[in-house]
Assembly symmetry: C2
């Protein structure tokens, strides 16, 4: 997709997945991790990320621990119990969606 942006719904699932694997992360760390893990193919912008983190926190999916490192603020996010369940759901929905999408994209011409 070059730089035509993230797919609808994928942002939240990506965040949850990273938190599932890493235990806890702070916002800036998430942006860097995604960039590194995808070799720059995906970029999570801060304008999308921070509001989403706040929303997930308000929904009880994430919880926050604030820490001061080198006089700079860091807000570490991690999954709540509800968030862990939600993550599993989101990931399998995404996998299911991708599977269906691939089936369509790989449709062969009607022979005959």
């Amino acid at each position: 997709m070059a730089d035509s942006g993230l797919f609808k719904g994928s942002l939240i699932t990506i965040i949850l997945k990273l938190l599932k694997e890493d235990g806890r992360m702070y916002g800036y760390e998430i942006t860097q991790k995604v960039k590194a893990a995808t070799e720059g193919k995906f970029t999570i912008t801060e304008g999308a990320l921070y509001p989403t983190l706040h929303k997930l926190e308000a929904q009880g999916i994430l919880e926050v621990e604030v820490e001061k490192v080198d006089n700079r603020l860091r807000k570490y996010y991690k999954l709540t119990e509800k968030g862990t369940t939600e993550t599993a759901t989101k990931i399998s929905e995404l996998e299911e969606y991708i599977k269906t999408l691939q089936e369509i994209i790989q449709l062969k011409p009607n022979l005959g």
Copy 2:
């Protein structure tokens, strides 16, 4: 994704892919084909489809042939030459996107 709608960008690619395989199709036919091919998992709504067809036509990606069948109007769409190129691009972009998405979703925990 249950019925939480199509991913951003996938609608156009799906339309183009179907037209690539079928040669020409009319709007209503596209909605039925997608429903059938995905066993109801994807539904292309008419409110999304028709404006998109018009847009693609305006962009010179599709062209139209109007026919009257049983006194009912049908607008058959097919790819222009430009549309054929565009289709190839969109499909490989989508495949690339899916690949990256899967890499993220299948990330394993950092051992150690």
